[in-house]
Symmetry: C2
């Protein structure tokens, strides 16, 4: 079982409109709702890959009830016969789960995103979560910590969750940004998956190889940076690799990073060599961009792309520029 | 008791954002929710004027539950000590009450509105509503039929409700648009309150006095047209009047028409002479534009404006242009 943690879950709502006109009244043609938040997206992809998962985090209010109901309806069944189960271990809170609204303009295909602030989590609710988390982590083959922190949670929360997973000798992946990432990486997670912006914010460098290796020095045992259409760049104890899709794909990138996390986690649990993990993560990510529904992946595209991902090993020597005086920040 | 009918109720959500950027991710700073739909807005203003009201229409799903809970919390109490009660007589349906989202851009003050489609109402649900409506209308001092029709309701629905109210000898006001207005007015409601656009769509004329009198010939016993900042124009069996606020007011016009309806209804039930009804409706409408929260009215501004509304009688003779050959459409 893989445990995914989503502290700031969301009810993801998609509105389709003929065209979004600011400062006017817009009729919404179609409304769809889905359980959301990065860890929940990761679990959905893990299920499709045949990996049983448990989702935890916080949930509350009417939107929280809707999220749980939709999550229960998503499991293996008529529409997803081959999927592994996703078990709901979300912790109830007094606050109300946030909504995110994606307004898709059908004329341009562009999306305008409106994200509500998350509910404030109380110290007692955080304590209840920690108790539940320790029990779940002890049973997990791997743990993924995903997304932003809701109000009320201390900024070192991910560092605390990384340390608890490590104490239980469970591999732990961290996918967050800003100060929670900076503190979390110092607690020595097994894997961090920043995107280019998050990596630059963490390390101060926009040069991916240098920044990825810098992130390793900050505490990440392995660092896999997602570089958008360019694929992934991995720096690990076993070596460094770039993995790129055979062709650039165009579509909706929502959830592509979460699919990459699911690819990396499943590869870790299956003890695949790094090049295979990376190929899977890149193919899943590209197949997510190609899928018509945001955050889903196109299974046929995935099967087609997987053998065609190019994985190239990078020099295992320190990067060239290390001969020049290195700037420490 | 005044009965207000809102067939297409809504959970009105307001998002405050620093600035709404289309095709980007926008953080919502503040979320507020309120029971919405025109008849519910009318009842809220009636309550503030001391008139007991009953709201009916359809409600369903989680958003419907939220609407009912907020409606129950709105009544007389600590925050609204002087208000009359608003009684919930909404009819439950299997569908889910729609949401409307008003995104207020705090930089420009402009609002972008996103309106979900309403739930489909089944024939059995419409039949259950009619039974409930007949009982409520028989006890009402006046009936107001407000807003759009949700999917599944026949286009002659308001005509049917007007006839039932007339059969029960209850005064009935109709505030809708398009084909439901065209059919509803033919059933001879006591009062219709179109705005300038609705009136032009109904009559084909943009000349307000001519169009208002045309609307009377179509079946409205009295017609009160709301002309935005210019106030109201009334054509009644007792004469025609214009009523205008002392100065043009600037602000958010959301709900101004509903406040005017509440002013007209309360004046009708209190048997005020037409000029007083119109002055009240104009002052309430302007005080709604001036209120910081959409759909509320500023009570101090109302008290200040009421004695200063200018009501002028229009010629009771047929309008000048009637001497020219009249075009019948």
């Amino acid at each position: 079982m893989i445990l995914t943690v989503t502290l700031n879950t969301a009810l993801d709502i998609t509105y389709r409109t003929a065209a979004l006109t600011p400062h006017a009244t817009n009729r919404v043609a179609e409304v769809t709702e889905r359980p959301g938040g990065k860890g929940i997206n990761v679990a959905r992809v893990l299920a499709a890959l045949g990996h049983e998962s448990v989702v935890t985090g916080f949930v509350g209010g009417r939107t929280g009830d809707a999220l749980r109901e939709l999550l229960a309806a998503e499991g293996p069944g008529e529409t997803r016969p081959g999927d592994a189960p996703v078990t709901d271990a979300l912790v109830p809170i007094a606050g109300t789960t946030r909504r995110t609204i994606a307004v898709v303009d059908e004329t341009t295909g562009d999306t305008t995103q409106l994200n509500e602030p998350g509910p404030t989590v109380t110290p007692a609710e955080w304590a209840a979560f920690l108790t539940s988390y320790e029990g779940l982590a002890a049973r997990a083959d791997a743990v993924a910590l995903c997304g932003s922190l809701p109000p009320g949670i201390h900024v070192g929360a991910y560092a605390e969750l990384v340390r608890l997973a490590r104490a239980a000798r469970r591999p732990v992946l961290l996918d967050t940004s800003g100060e929670p990432l900076r503190r979390g990486i110092a607690a020595r997670p097994d894997l961090v998956k920043p995107n280019a912006d998050e990596l630059a914010q963490l390390t101060g460098s926009r040069e991916p190889l240098r920044a990825t290796r810098d992130a390793r020095r900050r505490g990440g045992r392995s660092v896999v940076a997602s570089l958008g259409a360019a694929g992934l760049l991995a720096a690990t104890p076993d070596g460094s690799w770039r993995a790129a899709p055979p062709t650039a794909v165009r579509g909706n990138p929502t959830g592509a990073g979460d699919s990459a996390v699911a690819g990396l986690l499943s590869g870790l649990v299956e003890r695949l060599p790094w090049p295979e993990r990376l190929a899977r993560a890149v193919a899943l990510s590209a197949a997510t961009v190609l899928a018509p529904a945001a955050g889903e992946f196109d299974r046929e595209a995935y099967a087609d792309l997987l053998p065609r991902v190019a994985v190239t090993e990078q020099s295992s020597q320190p990067e060239q520029e290390s001969h020049a005086p290195r700037q420490h920040r």
